[in-house]
């Protein structure tokens, strides 16, 4: 683990969010793969393993909940930490994420520090 870079899959339809999050994670030394929706993310996940998935909920083509459910069906994603990005601190959304199989959540808006702190909890 020490030599190998930690890999993350970031799924968000908002380009600015993708850039901000990946910039922060790259800066901390993580390797980040980006996808714009659930379908793209799932395609990537079928061929590649990562150490962490961070996904938005509301996305076109395939939303975050469906993506999580599909990911959990893949043998190599059975135990992979998956964090959701939720716009508001709504317990309903959090619960839906959990039911789908998410590990935890990151509440938007967030600053780079709290993002890294949260990410480190599951690595």
């Amino acid at each position: 683990m020490s030599d190998k870079k930690i890999k993350m899959l970031l799924v968000d339809d908002s380009a600015s969010m993708r850039e901000m999050v990946s910039f922060t994670l790259n800066g901390a030394g993580y390797e980040v793969f980006k996808a714009t929706d659930g379908v793209e993310a799932l395609d990537f996940a079928r061929a590649n393993d990562v150490d962490l998935v961070i996904t938005d909920i509301n996305m076109p083509n395939m939303d975050g909940f469906t993506l999580i459910k599909e990911l959990r069906k893949l043998p190599s994603y059975k135990f992979t930490p998956i964090l959701t990005l939720t716009t508001e601190d709504s317990s309903e959304k959090k619960n839906m994420g959990k039911v789908a199989g998410a590990t935890g959540w990151i509440v938007k808006p967030f600053d780079p520090d709290s993002l890294l702190q949260t990410v480190r909890r599951v690595l």
């Binding site: 135990f79 992979t80 998410a102 590990t103 599951v122």
Partner: protein, 662 residues
Amino acid sequence: MAVNLDMSQFHEIFFEESREGLEAMESGLLNLNVGVPDPEVVNIVFRAAHSIKGAAGTFGFTNISRFTHVLESILDEVRSRKRGVTQELVDVLLQSVDGLRYMLDCAKAGAQVDENRIAAIQESLENLPVEQQPKPAGWQIHFIPRPHLLQTGNDPYRLFRELKALGNLFITPDFSRLPGIDKKEFDPENCYLGWDLLLQSDAGIEQIREIFAWVEGDCDLDINLSGERRQLVERRRRRDDESADALLESGRGQEQASIRVNIDKIDTLINLMGELVISQSILNHAVTDHDHDHDQTGRLKEIVELLEKNTWELQEQAMRIRMQSIDFTFQRLPRLVRDLCRSLGKQADLEISGGTTEVDKTVLEKINDPLVHLIRNAVDHGIETPGERKAGGKAESGLVEISAAQEGGNIIIKIKDDGAGLDTGKILAKAREKGLITGAEELSMSQIHNLIFLPGFSTVSKVSDVSGRGVGMDVVKRNINDLGGSIELVSEQGKGSAFTIKLPLTLAIMDGQLIRVGKEILIVPVLAIVESTQVKKQLLSAVAGKTEVYRFRDEYIPLMRLDNVYGLSSDLKDITDGLLIIVETGQQRMGLLADEILSQQQVVIKSLEANFQQVSGLAGATVLGDGTVAMIIDVPGLIRHCKGITAAHTAGNTALLPGIHT
């Protein structure tokens, strides 16, 4: 009518029982966490003190009873939470255990107790400041994940890591929900464990809840102030009532299943067993010599074979009575490491494994000092100071591991540390300075390391009060060799050292190689034999006139003509008709010249000392199947003697071992 009872008949049991009590107290005290003592552990320590006090009073050891009373009162205050557990308290309590042990030893030996020593300890006991039980400075967390928890990508380990960042975390796993591994319902992807966590921290409950936020609903979670620990433990106990009862039941069963027996009785039994085995082989011999054709003989042979099997089994079981688990020795070591670390300003953990391995009581007693010495060395010379370790990129606290395992008829003990390792440069310099090597030799790494086993070697220029007080590694090695064992060393500079000790499980029987010299049968312990070889004249040469050496592989080893050594007459017309048995103890090898090599067999060792007198060069004797007595060669003794002869020759003295006549 008054009963006239002689109390002294119970003293032996009292001493034995008190010794066990003290050991329980000691290990309990070492496990006592400062600030947050486990009530169970406190209870164990208290009960042990209480029993000793009561029994000592009954048997008339009033000084022991009086002293223990003071100790017991303090423990009672700890038990009833009137007194908190501080480092100072643990230290003084450990001193008291030492004091009690000393008083018991005196009582056993009928010696006078140095009252000043006891009074000093009693004074520090009485002057211990009463620290109030600290306010619940922490949280007791009861955490039982639902089986599917891991499948959400969460991991208890990561939660504990988060908690640990808040303070000191003590983790107790709860295995009660674990299904049998053979059961169908066991799913390796599920989490069946639960945990009782004690977090010593100023953190507020919100901070802890935050850590568990992602697993809320995926677990049972109870967070309480740690003052409520007792209730929690009790609640847990109620839940586990059934299994706890079963455990207690088996505990009681064990207690009833053991009785104390005087060691003399066991030795007599084992001795008689030895005689029986000998009679058995004489019988075997007699039957084998019989006419084969006879029907009757065939039947008789079957019976004798059965009897032989039973006899060996019986002997093995009899031997096992003398076997004790090596824990008897191991359990004193944590205290040793703790005390050493405190006096040296170092930090080290001791990890013990394989403590249940059983070994003969005599071996156990004799191995104690070498083990203590090796552990001392590991902490004193091996483990670096926390500062040095940090600078070297290691954890500040060192690790010393000791393990035991059985391998055939031997016990293997390994002692390993992650300290500095041996400094080959220093060793070489020292060996040159002491004249142990000339400095011209090309030495391999392992040969350099093995220099520390040479007599008169000690690398520490400053003699600390811990190790290096005259008793060197040579003594450790000799003690182990004398038990028929060996010690090996592997060390890597900067990484640490590891010693591997191999010892026979018992000293009463061994695998012996029978050899013949003239009319005499001698026995060489199989463990000591490297190989046997035909003598080739071109490899033989004489040094200093009389001592013969033989080129074996790449080294010259001394050759011993056993007929000369033991005053026998050999049949050999020419040395090349004989066979050379290469034996070894530790790193030293020697060739023994015999007329013939016979069979190998397990032999019962009879002490010459007990039956006749000690004879140098001989480890004992045994009776063979045909009833003849055969002497067992003491290989370490012979190698030592061989060196003596070499020295004596130089001085013009040709005295050999006294001849034996049987």
